[in-house]
């Protein structure tokens, strides 16, 4: 019962509270909240084009959130999703540009794998620092966000040959053979940028679900996350498992970056700051209680809110209100004890009694 409460009611109530308080704020600054939300939904789900774009926005969020969740299952906080996604983006575009002439059946998977592998390796670094030197992964992953951001600029400016570039700050568009876009998805969604990355995200939702629930590696990951000492006493290798989980976590973030590069943007261009998908992914994972299905639903919600911001604007409401709503939702997820307090004032004691039996 308690568990269901955590996983199910807290997120739902958080969203409801977020939307209600958002409405209150909209009303307070003198606009009509109903009109605002209507126009927001219209902007993100109003026609096939906007639905396509919303699903496209959800794609990297699903993947970074899955990455965050896997690290979290083993008990680590991967704040480096943003830098890892960036590395995945750069890596996949690099592969696509170098092996330009290869047929699609090799070039596309190759580019995707390049993105995933680059980041799996990058994810391993904080994992290794953690298990051998007990370095806080929070700090190393945050610092690596900056390192990777500036390395990506350096690569673009100084390492890639002129032939890759289009101007100084962005690469050429990748060849069709490396693109995740397909005609049928584009046509289906009225010319949106929705691409195969979305299907990959769906596949990985299932894969991660299976990993955590049905594999021995997933069992090791969960055990360590819940009680590392008991895991050690049972002969589970903490080092191997933590590093593996960080590799998977990084790899998923890398895949998120690859879908941005190979799907959404078709090239790489200099980023002035860390990628938002990394940090939004953490929020999505929190809201989704770390479960793959929860992550899918909350990524969709985030995408609806984010793509609805221009709609708010059309209704005359400052689009930043959407970020306020997201922040309130995350606040309530974080403050789950508050919510639990409201809905379990009575049953609370009963739980205690059962333990005494």
């Amino acid at each position: 019962m308690n568990n269901k409460l955590d996983k199910f009611f807290v997120p739902i109530l958080s969203v409801i509270f977020g939307l209600l308080i958002g409405a209150l704020i909209i009303a307070l600054i003198g606009y009509n909240p109903i009109l605002g939300y209507q126009s927001m939904l219209n902007s993100s789900l109003g026609n096939s084009l906007s639905i396509g774009e919303t699903l496209r926005t959800a794609t990297p969020l699903i993947l970074t959130a899955l990455g965050f969740a896997v690290a979290n299952y083993v008990g680590l906080f991967n704040i480096g999703l943003s830098g890892q996604a960036l590395a995945g983006w750069v890596g996949s575009i690099w592969f696509a540009l170098v092996f330009d002439g290869l047929p699609k059946i090799i070039l596309l998977p190759g580019s995707i794998l390049a993105g995933i592998l680059a980041c799996a390796l990058i994810g391993i670094i904080p994992g290794i620092l953690k298990v051998f030197f007990n370095t806080s992964e929070v700090i190393t992953t945050i610092m690596m966000n900056y390192i990777l951001l500036f390395v990506s600029t350096h690569i673009t400016h100084n390492i890639w040959p002129k032939s890759f570039m289009q101007g100084t700050d962005s690469t050429k568009i990748i060849s069709n053979n490396a693109s995740l876009r397909t005609e049928w998805l584009t046509n289906l969604t009225g010319g949106s940028r929705l691409n195969l990355g979305f299907l990959l995200a769906l596949i990985f939702i299932i894969l991660i679900y299976v990993l955590i629930k049905y594999t021995t590696l997933g069992f090791e990951i969960k055990t360590i996350g819940l009680n590392p000492i008991a895991a050690k006493y049972s002969g589970i290798s903490l080092k191997k498992t933590i590093v593996s989980a960080m590799a998977i976590s990084g790899g998923l973030a890398g895949l998120a970056g690859a879908t941005e590069g190979l799907g959404t943007f078709q090239n790489f261009f200099i980023q002035s700051q860390s990628l938002g998908i990394g940090f939004d992914g953490m929020a999505v994972a929190l809201l989704g209680s770390g479960s793959p299905i929860g992550i899918f639903i909350s990524a969709l919600l985030f995408a609806v809110l984010k793509n609805g911001a221009p709609g708010m604007n059309l209704a005359g409401i400052p689009p930043e209100i959407v970020n306020v709503i997201i922040a309130i939702i995350i606040f309530f997820v974080g403050a789950k004890y508050l919510i639990k307090y409201f809905i379990t004032v009575e049953p609370k004691k009963e739980v205690k009694g059962e333990e005494n039996k």
Binding site: T215, T223, A231, Y233, G235, K352, N356
Partner: protein
């Protein structure tokens, strides 16, 4: 009315106390009376309702119904602060002391004397000293708590409640961590306290102590008062029967031990801790198939480190460990416990921290060491059908009281949690079973069961290494007893021909105790 004269002799009367959590009655119409200047023992199994009752008395919980009379007057104890003000003090089983503070600082914490906004340490010191001398506690106030023995720490706890003006002391399992000699000293202190007019409620499962310490005993079972009577002339058997509600055997029946081949062989083992101190100092020990070797000793004399070294959980500085003629010195845990079909089983010291994952369910805890093997999994995929059905079998076989195998382990009682571990380890049929404090905090029913299981293993030809701080347990189960003191084996004695006194001396580091091997 005439009752005033008789009832003012009672320090505490708890009348018809009922406490209901949801639909569970933790206390059901309980009556206890503590006379002035007496020691009353409160006896009951885990979950019988003792803690709930004492939490009500110390103000942590409010009764659903019932009355508390303090010195004959109806009193409402609505918070721990009120209880303290009324002179009720509790000494908890787990000490509430700050290691880096001195004894004096710990005692005065929250009750400091001040003079012009500054601490008045002189006054505090004098006050504490006076109490310490009055009751013959003999505590050095200037030492850090970290540097004094566990027995002393307990006296600090007692002094703490006395300093706060307690007339009624509640002691929760006070002897769990003490040596036999320290227990005797504690008993003396307790009798000294009652002579000075203090009244004491003693919570314990140890039947011997009840008879030695207490004047009267109240037995509680399943939230109800069963009986209250004088401890004079009561036998352990009667006490246990009242507590559990059925007959209990103390001496685990065991046939002659017939040791055969050497299963565990330790030679010149040295383990250093982080500070470079030798926590295990040149230990030689053999455990044969078909015997139980008990390791007796006071907590912190190298027992945990010895076990950790055998299991590969800590680095060995020098020496060798062989299990069935395989050198396992400094191998990793997985290789040691999972080699060739789980040769080594272990019941760890701290069941909740080391033995179980509390947030996982029973089935998952049962496969903690075998998840990566057929039939629990194949090719990296877990087979929950097999896992769950096997867990259900073990729940029946080991009498784990729960509704189903999907329940989280943290919802089980201590005894049932321990049964989950015992089930997991014995189910693997290990050649060597290493067990640390298997019954700590459990009630006699559970203890009896677990002891039987351990002896069964030994009688079926397995080697058992048992570490316990409970001398009774060591003496009851072991065939040979090795006593550890300051990292060394102080002596190895035959369990049949030794006695508590000899073991106590060895535990205290007197080396001539063990000459009968």
């Amino acid at each position: 009315m005439s009752k005033t004269t008789t009832e003012t002799l009672n320090a505490i009367e708890m009348k018809n106390i009922t406490k209901i959590f949801g639909n569970f009655k933790a206390n059901d119409d309980i009556n206890i009376t503590l006379k002035k200047g007496e020691i009353l023992a409160l006896l009951g199994e885990n979950g019988a309702g003792k803690s709930t009752l004492m939490n009500i008395l110390s103000g942590l919980l409010q009764p659903t119904s019932g009355q508390i009379l303090l010195n004959g007057k109806l009193t409402n104890i609505d918070s721990p602060a009120t209880a303290s003000k009324l002179g009720i003090g509790m000494v908890h089983q787990h000490f509430m002391l700050i290691d880096d503070f001195t004894v004096e600082e710990n005692i005065s914490l929250g009750y400091e004397n001040t003079k012009h906004f500054f601490l008045d340490k002189n006054k505090t010191e004098q006050e504490i000293k006076q109490i310490s001398e009055q009751y013959g506690l003999g505590i050095d106030l200037k030492q850090k708590v970290a540097d004094i023995t566990v027995g002393m720490q307990q006296r600090v706890e007692i002094l703490k409640v006395l300093y706060r003006g307690a007339d009624i002391l509640i002691l929760d399992e006070p002897t769990a961590v003490l040596t036999p000699q320290e227990i005797d000293e504690l008993i003396e202190i307790m009798h000294g306290l009652t002579k000075e007019g203090k009244s004491i409620i003693l919570i314990t499962h140890k039947l011997d102590e009840i008879r030695k310490i207490a004047d009267r005993v109240t037995v509680i079972r399943r939230g109800k008062t069963i009986d209250t009577f004088s401890t004079k002339g009561v036998s352990n058997k009667e006490l246990a029967q009242l507590m559990v509600g059925r007959e209990v055997s103390f001496k685990t029946k065991k046939p002659e031990s017939l040791p055969t081949k050497t299963v565990l062989s330790i030679r010149n083992l040295i383990v250093e801790n982080k500070q470079g101190i030798q926590s295990v100092n040149d230990v030689d020990l053999d455990v044969l198939a078909g015997e139980v070797v008990g390791i007796a000793g006071i907590d912190g004399n190298g027992q945990s480190e010895l076990i950790q070294a055998i299991l590969g959980l800590t680095k060995i500085k020098s020496g060798t460990i062989e299990i069935l003629d395989n050198d396992v010195t400094n191998k990793n845990v997985k290789d040691i416990i999972q080699q060739a079909g789980n040769i080594v089983g272990q019941v760890p010291e701290d069941r909740q921290k080391e033995g179980l994952v509390l947030d996982m369910n029973i089935a998952e805890n049962i496969i903690l060491k075998t998840y990566n093997r057929y039939p629990n999994s194949s090719k990296g995929i877990l087979n929950y059908k097999n896992i769950n059905s096997h867990a259900r079998d073990l729940i029946t076989e080991f009498d784990i009281r729960t509704t189903n195998e999907q329940n989280k382990v943290k919802s089980l009682s201590g005894g049932n949690q321990q049964k989950v571990i015992i089930a997991r380890e014995i189910d693997q049929n290990p050649e060597l079973l290493i067990i640390s404090n298997p019954t700590r905090g459990l009630d006699v029913g559970a203890i009896e069961y677990i002891h039987q299981r351990i002896i069964e293993q030994r009688t079926s030809g397995k080697a058992v290494l048992l570490v316990s701080f409970e001398l009774d347990e060591i003496m009851n189960l072991s065939d040979r007893i090795a006593v550890m003191h300051a990292g060394k084996i102080q002596g190895i004695v035959n369990a049949k021909s030794t006695n508590e006194e000899q073991l106590g001396l060895l535990m205290a580091g007197v080396s001539n105790g063990g000459e009968n091997e």
